[in-house]
Symmetry: C5
Subunit: 337 residues, 5 copies
């Protein structure tokens, strides 16, 4: 699967892996800066450096480590993806891992974002399928006053963006579930629906693993005591918390609904089979009548008076048709046919 | 679905979106006031302003924000529905979100109510299908003495009203479950029942998501420490807590009962199929007798003495009837037919 | 369902709704008193008034409220049944709600008991199907020394009685489950068993809802800090706690056992169906032999040498019987017939 | 079920119900003493009295109560079995209830042991099927140095013995599960296996109820603060804790495995039925060929040229055999036969 | 099953059971030492003795006990395997139990490692199938600076190695699950897949029991307060914690996926059966036509005009073929054939 998102974002800056690198003061972009000067800018009072990376190589991460004095373990984590969403505190710096999700070709594409947040800097490292944080940057630059709060506001904005991006994914799944629901209840479920139900369950499982640990991350961010997180930001992080809990609730609901759909599908399938067996039994009974009667008059006994009666054949035909017709009417009436 | 509730309530006041706006003192209605003077009235000692809104627009909310100095995030939440039930504290003001439920055309219609409660004012914002709080207002005005407690009593009265409204919804579901139960156990379950069972499970899931988070909201209200909540109100909020817990218990019970009904339905379906297979097998066996016997005497061998015996035909007929009758009696006896 | 329990207890005292009303001192019954003097007696040092009511009307409750200064919300609760088991503290008085259960006509009949316990008085209010507390009263009067402890001992005695009454209910269900178990494992399960299993599951659910919240009530009673509960009573309440926990454990076990029985029943049903299908298939195969062979020799070709052979008919009969016999023996051997 | 264990142990001492009664000092048995002197011996400094009872009568328990000043409720509990495993503290004495389990005739036999532990004495009361604690006594007497620690060491030794006795029970179940597993996966599962699976699930449920509450008992024993439990014993009780947790883990695993086995058995049963239906369908198709063809040539039309063709019969036979053979080969190839 | 791992590691040192025994100072290997001098070396300032054992006998463990003054219970545990993963603190020494897992012949082979960690020494005892810790030793010797931290770093390195070794096991299971998934959804599931699904579920259960208790061990190691664990090691242990939590999450996901696969397989099986029943019914209907018609014209009535019509036979054949063809087309169209 060639991912256009990846191609689009990886090369938008001079150095490969660097998507954006700018210094801000009082909520205003002061300068586009090279990575090499990032540490210097971040130490200027009232300045915040915001760097966006996409699948950086080790060398680039090492340079950032030197600039901002990042912790060795965080760098190792940022190099390889496949981390659980978490919040680590290394001295005065925070390291946040979040997993992103978006619909891509009818299936969910997962990505990972690692955030280094410290005094005067925010570094976001994206892995896999994940949209650029350009819209976040633009929104921050627009909300100049709030943005002037500094690096914790950027952290908030990115987390908010990630959580908001779960919504359309859930919406898509919800729509599809409702569609399958209709076909299950309308007795037209096929193997394709079974397959789709199965895939949706797997996808939801992955989505839950991606999203739910963020609840804990947000819970810690809304409580006081983390370095660099201003207590006035508390309501904002609580707002993100709320959204991610709503996402969690939706996921759990969908999981239950899919389980219900499975069970219902089993029952519908059983009913279907019963109906077919009934139909089979009905037609077998109806067709057994001419076979049995005709068999009798096909016997070769010397003395079989009916055979020599002029209207014998006609009467037998009428009897057969009458009995078959009566059976058909009966089966029809009690719903077997 | 055109919702008459919506139409009925949205226009009962001068300004669109405003359902009621009055000032109270010592539990007595002092004046119907325009929104613009609400802030002023709320600051008079011993006065409480109670405003009821229905799906207000942004402008109206902004005005209220100015009057009562409401928090930005709460205003944003109040504008769009789809919040989880919660209790937020912004400075000295409380922001409560609750979801309402009522039966509408045989299905549950959900609504949302947002409450702003602060020193001297209560603002209720309704979204979607939810009955007007006019009865609450009337009841409060009747219970003058208790009402004079102020804004926390109004909060209690509205929450109590919301929780009480869950009861008939649950009652309706309960009745329907019992009806389906009878048809499942009476072996007359059809696809319609399966569909209905499925819908009930989904509805209960939604009802649970709407109601259960209120338990936490009430738990916090009954404990001391929230601004503007008088400790003497504690028993009242504990009473609401008790009711919502009872609602929760009923929902959980119904969920289990529906799961039992599903399983039982599966077993009944299986038994039904077994019965049909038995019937099919029995009739196949009975009808195979004339076919086989007649087939034998339909053979064209030169030497078949029975064929030339005078009573051959009659004896064969008797034998066939006897065997068939005996089989029928046997199948009847062991319950296959 | 006319409930004889109700009729028997409701009229055993002068005033309707009052079952008993007596004053005790040092564990000895001092006087049968009218309700109107109850408050006065309860305030005499060393005296305890114990009143037993059955579905009282509002007027009677109001009078008690005046006598003992009971809380408004407790009175409201006591008037209507359908409360969750709980322990409320209103000032120096306790309000306890418990649900009772007893077997009645093969199904569980549930009742509710509300207890007001304060300095010098205990009022028990029974609703629905529940035995009189006369045996408790007699037992207390017999255990004079322990009884002299006062109102907390009465509370203990009633709770102990309620919890002990769950045991025969559970025992009855257990017996019935074992009976159904035998019929399921012995492959004679019928629709009646399915229906009974379903009803037992529902009843157990109700019993759990009635009994399990009492665990929390007892837990609070065994801990110090409640008004009027002497710490020396702690081991007694811990004993009730233990019993109710045992009841809870039994209920959970029975619930699991019923779930197992359901699953096993599904498997047994499946096995039964497989067996019938096998029988059907076997007989179809056996009977297809004469039909096919006879069909062949019923053909009217001019040249069919076997037909003119003297022993043709006999040989064919022998062949048919041999093949059918061999098939029968084979099916028998591998257990299909 | 006559239980030989019971007969063997109940009469090994002079008085009925008393299995052993000895005084120890510094880990050495000082004297076999009569019950009547037990209290006296227990108060001698450095002495411990260890009494073993089996289903004692009330009189015997009353005497012990007088000797060691035991709590009334503990005596009542010790008289009747059917207690939950628990640890009660009455003043300076401990009362411990544990349930024992051992294999007996292929099913688990459960017993109960009550332990009174106080300054200078340990009384063990056994109910139902449970091995004598003679081996424990011997082991303690052998480990003289550790034993000199006193009554808490005896408590540890008995609990350790009880927990160790769960292991062979679990081992037996495990072996049986593996055996059933093989037969389920090898498609030879029968009704007997279903019955056995069901019984194993019930037994495991009982075993869990017996064993798991001991986790809590041990947890409290390993923590400081209980009277008469020396903190140096902590690692020993933690060891028992560890073993019982391991037992718990094994039980939970077995429960899950049995649930898996049930589900797998359902699937195997379904597959079996599908296979039979396929076989039935295949043979029905094969046998329908001669029936249909022979039927055609059994018709009595005047003009049927094939009938008069010399090789007609032979050709028809060949055609029938060819088609049947071809069908057989096809069904064989795609696995239906 | 002869385990080559065992053979390979058990004899790599002079004494049987001893795999390696070396003293380190400042992260550098100072000397290969005999067991007898281990205690002495461990007490030299700045020195750490690291001993690797594989299934040692009692004598060897007793010697180590004397050298490092190990606790009796830990020695007993280390002698027999089958411990739950745990962390015990005996005075100033830690005793850690972990279970290892690796793929071996398509199934998971489990082992156990016991670690004694105290001032100046680390002893690792391996049981069952588990790779040697030689790679850990080499990695430690390479990371000289970190290694100079001492015995807690060795503990970290071994735990990290154990946890990392779970990953390929999970990966293998994941691959197999995906393979089975494809065959289930592609309707080609066979009894072999059912068996494999069952085995995977059992294996995952065992893996969970082996891995998940390590979460608790790591959680305690990352918190301050354990003897000999330097607080600067906290981030490293938190890193191991993170990995084991990720392993846990993967295991839980796989367990759910396998449960989904089971359910889906049941539905697919049901659908398959329905399809076969449909096919059977269709062919039975088609073949019943010639049988019934031919039966009619096989009757021996004197007066059957069609029989004497010249084109009778041909017309009947055409009628039969037409009806059969029409039925075939109809069944084809609605998907029954």
């Amino acid at each position: 699967m060639t991912n256009p998102l990846k191609l689009a974002t990886a090369s938008s800056h001079g150095r490969p892996g660097v998507v954006a690198c700018a210094a801000y003061a009082a909520g205003r972009r002061v300068a586009e800066i090279p990575i090499e000067e990032a540490g210097e800018w971040s130490r200027k009072p009232g300045h915040v450096v915001w760097i966006g990376l996409h699948e950086p190589d080790l060398e680039l991460l090492r340079q950032l480590q030197r600039e901002f004095n990042l912790h060795e373990l965080a760098i190792e984590d940022a190099l390889k993806a496949h981390q659980r969403p978490k919040l680590e505190q290394y001295g005065d710096a925070l390291f946040v891992v979040a997993r992103t999700a978006q619909m891509f070709d009818g299936r969910i594409a997962f990505g990972e974002t690692h955030l280094f947040v410290g005094k005067g800097y925010v570094v976001s490292v994206r892995h896999g399928a994940s949209t650029s944080y350009k819209p976040v940057r633009e929104r921050c630059e627009a909300a100049q006053k709030a943005f002037s709060e500094g690096e914790d506001f950027i952290l908030y904005a990115i987390l908010d963006f990630i959580v908001d991006n779960y919504i359309p994914v859930i919406q898509t799944i919800q729509d599809e579930v409702e569609e399958i629901e209709d076909s299950i209840l309308g007795e037209t479920a096929t193997q394709i629906h079974v397959t789709r139900l199965y895939q949706l369950r797997r996808d939801l499982l992955r989505l839950r693993n991606a999203a739910v640990p963020l609840v804990e991350v947000c819970r810690r961010l809304e409580q006081p005591g983390l370095p660099g997180i201003d207590p006035v930001m508390s309501p904002l992080f609580r707002d993100v918390s709320d959204h991610i809990r709503r996402v969690q609730e939706e996921i759990e609901s969908l999981r239950e609904v899919l389980a219900f759909a499975f069970e219902t599908s089993l029952m519908t399938g059983q009913a279907q089979q019963t109906e077919i067996t009934r139909k089979l039994a009905s037609w077998a009974a109806i067709l057994a009548v001419p076979t049995a009667v005709a068999g009798l008059y096909g016997m070769n006994f010397d003395v079989m008076p009916e055979l020599h009666w002029k209207y014998g054949y006609a009467v037998v035909l009428v009897v057969i048709l009458t009995v078959c017709g009566w059976l058909y009417w009966r089966f029809r009436r009690n719903g077997w046919l």
